[in-house]
Amino acid sequence: MKPHRTIADREDVLGAIMLAPSLVYVILLVGVPFAFAILLSFSDATAGSLHFGWAGLRNYAAILGDPIFLRALRNSAIVTVGSQLLVVVLATAAAQVLRATFRGKRFARFVLLLPWAVPVSLAAIAWTWIFDSTFSVINWTLRAAGLMHGWLYWLGDPALALVAIIIVQAWRIFPFATVIVLAGLSSIPQEIVEAAIVDGAGFWRRLFQVELPLLMPVVAVAVLFGVVYTATDLGVVYILTGGGPANTTHVLPTLAFQRGILGADLGQGAAIAVFLLPFLIVVAVAMLRLARHTEVGAR
């Protein structure tokens, strides 16, 4: 036994040492690029050149006057909000179903979680087939069921393409949200649910007045994650529509990629990407406040 204090006894030092690797990681791979992106957005840097000139707010002025950018901004908002609304409703419903006991429940849970495990790019490629203009299985099914007589050009029509993107984004986040909501549901004390039953509350009253309010903090966290994942996602839109037709379905990440990397205008690409920031900060603050607020009411 060592008679004097070792490093393992000194929690202050030990803490610093153990935190260091992740701190270095975050600084080098998140902090630096982030700062660099902000810096770039004020420059006239281009790919293929080491020239770095101060451009002031010119990049921002340019994109704000650009209808394609404004449309991408709007699309980002629509896709994020739309997919998250869909996710909240579907995940709550699925969690209710998965909570019940039935045969094959474990299998159902496994299948449900699959989309979460599939790489975005692979999944998006599969979805392009589902939405294909000639071979769309959705169209085929709708027609075979006699529900539709025309033909939907999913990825060829700007509005339908947005719907398709929303569906894929929702599909992607849905398993994760379901698992979170399921965990939240099982944390509601059984006696409270039973009290509501004895108090005469039917299914809907229980859902909306007892279970959902108690789930709010958990749902808020799920939505926060969903928003961040969706708003920053490049792959789905890039593979599904590539921003087309005619730049109508760009979201901020794809537009930033197109301008900054493919178009070599690093400055403008960075400016577009940075535009996500205030948007995400607002969402994060709102969600965390909501989570805290509902928690105060609870317990």
Partner: protein
């Protein structure tokens, strides 16, 4: 649950008493409709409710052990919840909640959240929530178990007074026999899904039907001792309450008692009583396998009882109970 036949009188305070796993809570939940019996019938009033009558249509109200208050609703909203569920007009809800809160003196907490209340206050909110439904039956599942010992006594008294006042049939589940004795008009002693005895607290205490009830009710439990008495059938157990087992000198010469030689091992001084632990030694016979016998000597008997010595103790014959050692059932002397 096994062959439980039970009829509860209108306005009665019935206590289901048993240890955990005795089925008392399951029985309560079946009455509530939270669980369905595989067979058998349940009637509330003149309505048969087993089968498809949901809890809300049974005219019952239940208080859970954890109180199960809705944490995101204020006290007012908690109490109002069953009324909202039954679509009571807003104004009536308001009146009723205030009336109930008044009754349990929690009016000033109506705007608070459950987490801002003490255990006793939460319990009263839970009772209020049950009360406003005007139930035909109150179902209470260990409502005092989560209170500290001091509060439990006053809460017990409050509960009993309240039930006497509103005269609603009440089924009360507890594992605490003091609570059961203190509250129940009748007690149902349960064990492993079966009813062992139904009776008033006095009947259950004084005339237990078998050794299980004899040792489950009463603190310390009834002493059981093999009789070794030629005048009694073979394999008979003698039962007597610790408070009846007293030094022989306490009894007058005219009292009809049965005397035992009592080897005292240890004396526990508890203020109002002394608990004397030891075993009965029978003349001629080898000492029986150590059966601990307890005497509860009230403080009014100041007699010295030294440890490690053998004393003469006696039990009045009218306080002796007889049980079959094999079946455990009560038998006539």
């Amino acid at each position: 649950m096994d062959g439980v036949t039970l009829s509860i009188r209108d306005g009665e305070f019935l206590v289901l008493l048993g240890s955990s796993g005795s089925g008392k809570t399951t029985l309560l939940r079946m009455i509530a409709g939270l669980e369905r019996p595989t067979s058998g019938e349940i009637h509330i009033g003149d309505q048969r409710v087993d089968g498809d009558v949901p809890p809300r249509a049974r005219g019952i109200a239940m208080v859970f052990q954890s109180y199960a208050l809705y944490p995101h609703r204020t006290v007012f909203q908690n109490i109002a919840f069953p009324l909202e569920a039954s679509r009571t007009p807003r104004k009536q809800i308001e009146e009723k909640v205030r009336w109930a809160a008044e009754l349990f003196s929690i009016s000033r907490y109506l705007d608070r959240y459950p987490r801002q209340l003490s255990g006793g206050e939460r319990q009263r909110v839970a009772l209020c929530r049950a009360l406003v439904r005007d139930p035909k039956v109150f179902l209470l599942d260990e409502p005092l178990a989560n209170l500290d010992a001091k509060l439990r006594n006053t809460a017990r008294d409050d509960l009993k007074r309240f039930q006497r006042r509103i005269k609603t049939t009440t089924v009360y589940v507890t594992h605490d026999q003091v609570e059961a004795m203190g509250l129940g008009d009748r007690i149902v002693v349960m064990e492993r899904g079966k009813v062992r005895q139904i009776g008033t607290p006095q009947e259950v205490y004084e005339d237990p039907v078998d050794t299980f009830v004899a040792t489950f009710v009463g603190q310390p439990p009834m002493n059981l001792l093999e009789a070794r008495d030629p005048s009694l059938p073979a394999r008979t157990l003698l039962g007597f309450r610790p408070e009846h087992f007293l030094p022989k000198t306490v009894f007058g010469t005219g009292d009809d008692t049965r005397v035992f030689r009592f080897a005292v091992r240890r004396v526990e001084y508890l203020g109002s009583d002394r608990y004397v632990y030891g075993s009965v030694v029978e003349a001629g016979a080898p000492p029986p396998a150590e059966v601990t016998i307890i005497a509860k000597v009230p403080a009014t008997i100041a007699l010295a009882i030294p440890e490690g010595e053998t004393h003469e103790f006696a039990v009045p014959r009218r306080a002796l109970r007889y049980f079959d050692a094999d079946t455990g059932l009560k038998r006539a002397p």
